[in-house]
Amino acid sequence: MTTKPKQEKIQGNIRLMAAHARSVAATRGKTEGNRIVIAVIGEDRPGIMAGVTAVLAARSANILDVSQTIMSDLFTMVMLVDIKAISVPFAGLKTDLEKHGQEAGLSIIVQHEEIFKAMHRV
């Protein structure tokens, strides 16, 4: 049978959680600018993700998260990508991705993550 933890222990943990939140908030400014969001929209077919990830891998961009779905018959993918160590300037990566999109018949939109954070987080 499990017993409820002591009230002091719960209070202690809440304090730890608050301290953790403060330390995360303090580092928020330092990691900004390193992450971008890539949205890919197009006719669904095999190899879309492989094509986009190849462009990223060749420029040392690191994929952190991918979410993909079919929306109104269209392939829709959103990627969160770390560009801290990329081998080309950001503008070059963006142009390369957009060019790949044109060649592959996809709409590729590249934006810094900060704009989403600014708009959707208080």
């Binding site: 969001v37 959103v78 503008a91 939109i109 590249v110 934006q111 704009i115 989403f116 708009m119």
Partner: protein, 454 residues
């Protein structure tokens, strides 16, 4: 916490389907230190300083727009009112300064430069009057220069001598640009309670209490708000609708603030203010009138229009004020007729009249804006319209403005197209009854009791 896919979709929709953009980044450049007795020297100093301070404005704005994936439509510069800068000059012809500022704007690749301005709300200095008299030629000889004159405040009252003079100057500016239907008047605005940190044209200038250089942002986003209101259907009550507008305004403002701060940091100048205005463009769907109609009006101009606009204006401010600590400028919905395709159409259909527009300006920013009137409208009638708008601003402690275009040779029934962001629209009928005697009295309308706020 990570950003969800839905939030990413929402932002993409706002930017790529609903015309969300940053309407303008406007760099303020102080020109007080350019003054002197020799006009050639003053004009050169002003040109040099604008080029030096704003040299990186266009590339910086373009780079930031690219990184965040949000368009910045206009890049602009606002300078110290030229009437102050030129006051010590031996000549009273200030058009050389106008031409040099215009040249700087052209060479920088910016869209407009504002500040060929005078503040004469109580009385005119010789330089203030000289500048006003130079405005028609200054506008005719330039293409990106904007002029503005403040003729009243809640604290000072209304300078009716200046109001009378402005009626004549607007007519003269129209006749000097008759080949383009008086388009020079689109770069001339007459204010009551002018704001000194306004990033929007034609009324932008950099006031006396501002720094040497700073950057302000004007947001946009009527299309985004219309989409939200439309999606809510026709049944929900107005509190719920206002709440939703507030939430979108918050997001739009945060995007503007981020872009503004990044541009300012990269240019090494202070971030000044973000102007929470809903600024329409002639593009389909980018219309303030569309929002009012989505709220439930058949046609803008119907009864209920002023109330709907008041609701919209306040909800935008509430959301925006939460999103930034530095709201400033005009901060209110704009209702420029020619720049808002639906507004222009309702005028053409007879649904929206000059008198209703005037009532609307009592509850929003900024005034009778981009209104085309018949070419034979007398200077006194134009002055009368200016005085009416100024009275609304003076009594309600708000900014009001008049940007009228008396299109030479045109009359009611004609339609004029200025092109670009200025759009176009029909010539609006003006009351034929004269106020000439009232205007010719001159003098000053005393400051109202509202001004005694201490």
């Amino acid at each position: 916490m990570a950003i969800s896919s839905e939030e990413i979709y929402e932002t993409l929709g706002m930017i790529h389907a609903q015309n969300l953009d940053i309407r303008t980044v406007t760099m303020g450049v102080d020109l007080h230190d350019c003054a002197g007795p020799d006009i050639r020297r003053v004009a050169r100093n002003a040109y040099d300083k604008v080029m030096r301070m704003a040299g990186k404005l266009v590339p910086t704005a373009e780079a930031v727009a690219g990184e965040y994936g949000i368009p910045i439509v206009n890049k602009r510069v606002a300078v110290t009112p030229v009437a102050w800068v030129a006051a010590a000059c031996e000549t009273r012809d200030y058009t050389l300064i106008a031409r040099e500022l215009d040249r700087a704007a052209r060479e920088l690749g910016i869209d407009f430069i504002g500040g060929f301005s005078a503040l004469v709300q109580k009385d005119m200095t010789p330089a203030g009057e000289a500048l006003i008299r130079c405005i028609p030629r200054a506008l005719a000889e330039t293409s990106r220069l904007c002029a503005s004159v403040n003729i009243g405040t809640t604290k000072a009252g209304i300078n009716m001598d200046a109001v009378g003079l402005m009626g004549q100057m607007i007519k003269e500016a129209a006749s000097l640009s008759a080949d383009t239907s008086g388009s020079a008047c689109a770069r001339l605005v007459v204010f009551c309670n002018a704001v000194e940190d306004n990033p929007f044209m034609a009324g932008a200038f950099l006031g006396a209490g501002e720094g040497d250089g700073s950057l302000s942002v004007g947001i946009s986003g009527p299309g985004t708000i219309r989409a939200v209101v439309q999606a809510m259907g026709r049944e929900l009550d107005l509190q719920t609708v206002a709440e939703e507008i507030k939430r979108v305004a918050f997001k739009i403002t945060r995007a503007g603030e981020l872009v503004g701060r990044k541009c300012a940091t990269r240019m090494g100048v202070a971030f000044n203010i973000i102007d929470l205005s809903l600024a329409p463009t002639p593009a389909p769907g980018d219309s303030v009138a569309d929002i009012l109609e989505a709220l439930g009006l058949d046609k803008v101009g119907s009864p209920g229009t002023t109330a709907a606009l008041a609701l919209l204006n306040d909800a935008v401010k509430r959301g925006g004020a939460m999103a930034t600590s530095h709201a400033g400028g005009m901060s209110g919905a704009f209702i420029p007729v020619s720049e808002d395709a639906t507004m222009a159409r309702r005028v053409a259909e007879g649904a929206l009249t000059l008198e209703k527009l005037e009532a609307m300006t009592a509850v929003c920013s900024v005034g009778l804006d981009m209104v085309i009137v018949p070419g034979d409208t007398t200077p006194e009638t134009i002055s009368g319209i200016i005085a009416d708008e100024a009275a609304i601003g003076m009594i309600n402690k708000k900014t009001t403005a008049v940007r009228l275009i008396p299109a030479p040779g045109k009359s009611v029934g004609d339609t004029i197209d200025f092109g670009g962001l200025l759009g176009g629209g029909p010539v609006m009928p003006v009351s034929p009854h004269s106020c000439a005697v009232f205007i010719r009295r001159g003098g000053r309308i005393p400051a109202p009791l509202q001004g005694l706020s201490n």
